[in-house]
């Protein structure tokens, strides 16, 4: 099956870049590895028939959040990029993570999922748009308010204080 091959290819990219995000010591390398993970997840969205969401992922995450993160890394790394990136308590963190992972995989593999076989993927833009202006119109408007508040808040927080 070609779809399965595509899935494992994308999953390999995603997980390998995720490991890069977690285990590289240089923050710039972590940010670049995060790009691989985001691209892999965008590919997964397209594989799952969510074409609009894949494009949104590319625009907002890769084009916006990642660039913002890189800006912040550049602005805060005047001393040394490598400094302060060493792990603290790797062993307890690994134990916690392993426990969570085994619990999750056990739940995933033992539960009986009510899954219907998906049909052929169809365009999603029309449905998403009419849902946003139909049954989801209130969350949609609140989301615009949240974005406005976040915008103002980010400006207020990062502005240099004028002592006076």
């Amino acid at each position: 099956m070609t779809l399965t091959a595509v899935f494992y290819f994308l999953a390999a990219i995603t997980v390998a870049s995720g490991l890069g995000v977690v285990f590289t010591t240089n923050v710039v390398h972590s940010a670049l590895a995060l790009m691989g993970t985001l691209l892999g997840v965008a590919g997964m969205f397209v594989l799952l028939g969510a074409d609009f969401l894949g494009v949104i992922q590319l625009l907002v995450y890769v084009g916006g959040i990642l660039v913002l993160t890189l800006f912040a890394v550049m602005l805060t790394s005047r001393v040394d990029v490598r400094v302060s990136n060493r792990a603290v308590g790797r062993v307890p963190a690994a134990v916690v993570t392993l426990v969570v992972f085994t619990a999750m995989t056990r739940a995933i593999t033992t539960a009986t999922w009510v899954a219907t076989a998906p049909g052929a993927p169809k365009p999603t833009v029309y449905g998403i748009g009419s849902a946003f202006l139909g049954s989801y119109v209130l969350p949609f408007e609140i989301a615009s308010l949240v974005l406005l508040v976040a915008l103002i808040g980010a400006v207020v927080v990062s502005r240099k204080e004028v002592k006076g």
Binding site: V27, F52, T69, V79, M104, A115
Partner: protein, 103 residues
């Protein structure tokens, strides 16, 4: 259809979630912690879209994922602004070293 089932995507989401969790737990760099949070949010989005796909193709899961992406953008903007503020006050973004509340 075939070998590609819902569980494939759920397990991938679990792997991404655990990578993000490990990142948040071990990093001392505040920006690294924010990147771990992005990983966790992406795993949640993957689960949303997978559930939407394997439940008759309704749009609800995708719309939830869009809201999560929107909130992640707001969170990244605010979080990075706070990190820059911390850097102005402390000259570092090591979360172990920023333990004073008074500026």
């Amino acid at each position: 259809m075939d070998a590609l089932s819902l569980q494939h995507f759920l397990v991938l989401g679990a792997i991404l979630f655990c990578l993000g969790l490990f990142c948040v737990l071990t990093r001392r760099n505040a920006i690294g912690i924010l990147m771990g949070i992005e990983l966790v949010l992406n795993s949640a989005n993957l689960n949303y879209v997978a559930f939407a796909r394997y439940n008759g193709g309704a749009y609800d899961g995708q719309i939830f994922a869009i809201f999560v992406i929107m909130l992640a953008a707001a969170e990244a903007a605010i979080g990075l602004a706070i990190v820059l503020g911390i850097y102005q006050g402390f000259e570092t973004i090591d979360v172990e070293a920023t333990d004073r509340l008074r500026g």
